[in-house]
Symmetry: C2
Subunit: 383 residues, 2 copies
């Protein structure tokens, strides 16, 4: 049972593996598309071998590939190439995340396919994109994070290199690819014309650098890591209470006033070192010291209750267990259940795009067994 959504009726041929591409096609599936995963022989998508496992099935693969169908094709063999060609006749979108040139070698590049399938949208997610001097280099998330600059901004001053703790290199490329595919589908609906969407992990990292680029081009100073602080807003970061850290974010004078009153430190409102945001940035260490001196009198949860009451944006620093039981996360159906006949129910992140025209189902169909939909898919081609 596919998810019902605005992409219902759209068929995606999914020649992707590991994370960036499968994340893209997972989101297309979450929006209602039918996703047919075309997997290589000898084990299929590498992510089938990535832990953690339940009864030898990868829970990681199960989460990213829920609701997809699977057929194994050896695209170096003529017979299987014919099957792919038959599938392309009824497909709306092809998504692949091979290195630049790989699909061309097989005879399935955009230039090969577009004349024969003019309505087909061809989406490529790769490490460096299909043009430029690095186009043929291999890449993984770590490479994109490092080359794209986000690692230089993450961590504490003087600390060893620090990776963002989830694979934002892969995932942002997946998201930009979804945006491109949806825009291309709209264009096709209006003009009948397919197009190629070429997204790279490196480009996607550059696209999310936001104010680090503005700061550098204006000041010529190279931004570095700032721990838990924001580069241009204070107070805005992590502060230690009696037992644990909390987050407080007072992005303007009114919120700063509310924070000082909540801390029972009205003197901090009037302190000339902190009278506006530029002053607070200038004296950010002193401000941290004053706030933590006040926070030392109570445990984190008491302060969070006080801040919430006072309207000061705040949060605990939740770990994954906290996230999975957070009332808001649960109320928003952000933890869904994947029903797998063999390994039981697996909890996984839901769809953050809530659409009034479609229900947001609590359950998802399982990820496919390798080649598990072959017979039906072949029948459809022949039928």
């Amino acid at each position: 049972m596919a998810v019902s959504g605005p992409l219902s009726g759209i068929t995606v041929l999914d020649l992707t593996r590991v994370l960036a591409g499968p994340y893209c096609t997972m989101m297309l599936g979450e929006l209602g598309a039918r996703v047919i995963k075309v997997e290589p022989p000898n084990g299929g998508d590498d992510a089938r071998q990535f832990g953690p496992f339940i009864d030898k099935k990868s829970a990681y693969f199960a989460s990213l590939n829920r609701g997809k169908e699977s057929i194994v094709l050896d695209l170096k063999q003529a017979a299987d190439q014919e099957i792919l060609r038959a599938l392309l006749k009824n497909a709306d979108v092809l998504v692949e995340n091979y290195r630049a040139g790989a699909m061309e070698k097989l005879g399935f590049g955009w230039e090969d396919l577009h004349p024969e399938f003019p309505r087909l949208i061809y989406a490529a997610t790769s490490g460096f994109g299909h043009t430029g001097p690095y186009a043929h280099r291999p890449a993984y998330d770590m490479v994109a994070q490092a080359m794209g600059g986000i690692m230089s901004l993450t961590g504490h001053p003087g600390s060893p290199p620090t990776r963002v703790g989830t694979s934002v290199g892969d995932i942002t490329a997946g998201l930009f690819t979804v945006i491109g595919v949806n825009a291309a589908l709209l264009h096709r609906e209006r003009t009948g014309e397919g197009m190629k969407v070429d997204v790279s992990m490196l480009d996607s990292q550059v696209a999310i650098l936001e104010n680090a680029i503005s700061r550098y081009v204006v000041t010529n100073e190279v931004p570095g890591p700032l721990g838990a602080r924001h580069p241009s807003i204070a107070p805005f970061g992590a502060f230690k209470a009696a037992d644990d850290h909390l987050i407080a974010a007072a992005a303007n004078n009114e919120l700063y006033r509310k924070l000082c009153l909540a801390l029972e430190r009205p003197d901090l409102c009037k302190d000339p070192r902190f009278h506006d945001n530029p002053a607070r940035i200038e004296n950010v260490d002193a401000l941290q010291t004053e706030i933590e001196a006040a926070l030392a009198s109570r445990p984190r949860d008491e302060w969070l209750a006080i801040f919430e009451e006072a309207g000061v944006p705040c949060s605990p620093i939740n770990n994954v267990a906290d996230v999975l039981r957070d009332p808001q996360v649960l109320a928003r159906n952000m933890i869904v259940e994947i029903e797998d006949a063999k390994i039981g129910t697996v909890r996984a992140p839901g769809n953050p795009i809530k659409l009034s025209a479609f229900p947001d189902a609590k359950r998802r169909k399982a990820a496919p067994d390798l080649d598990g939909d072959r017979a039906r898919i072949l029948r459809e081609i022949k039928g």
Copy 2:
């Protein structure tokens, strides 16, 4: 001059400020939409006051709001409400990032607008979404990063809390909103029906936790920060050469073999501690020590040249200055020039979605002056 793209002909009313919403409407503009920024009186979008500044104009605002138009409306005044209503007649999409309930108070919530403007797509990007127990709480990027779990995975074991160095809380919410808007535009093209798109920063953070959730639900162990390491792949992280760190990512046995040979340490291929990925994860500290012992003989750039030659995925850890002069980043047109008559040319991140059907322009129109397009916009309404 608007950008030419698949959303050409689409008009977006942009009632957003600061980052998540403006990032969404920037991307819609990059795809060809006309974006009319409706700003509040008394200074408009808060981000106009965020540094760094060039001649008192915010370079940050200039980057995020390139190519948009601006009109100031006080939505508490009947006359300005009428202007908004007139604008809605010709609009395809409304995007807002107020707190839940704010638009309803003004009489411009989805329930108010949908009967009168059935084709209008209404997109809301908020801290917590429009439903659930936290719906009315204030949020900023820091709050979303902390509450959504990514901070618990970022940093070094035992280090103080560490924020991801760019505002991924805002930006991912902006990206999921773009995906929702594009999907809703496709649906409208096929059915004539508008819909509401409700995206939250917290939900978006949960959606990108990827394998941290799988690991927790399978093992019941709460994942923590791992510095620059990957939780389930080794070697995959930062390693110190003679002068500086580099990134090497050998995600399978073949790449690991290539790495060992490039290091002139064939013995490491055969070492039983490292014979496959699970063994390498188990002995990840010993592996780090061995690799860094080998790397100590040469500076970073020599090793990077050797690894590239050998086909081992690798990278320097670039800072923002490095990124802005990287040949691949430049070849991909990822640094564009915003032409501002007052402050000159400002460099900013380009559009990572490269589409074969549309040119990827090198230059962008400037961000608008506050209320700078009022006269023309009002003429259009009357005409």
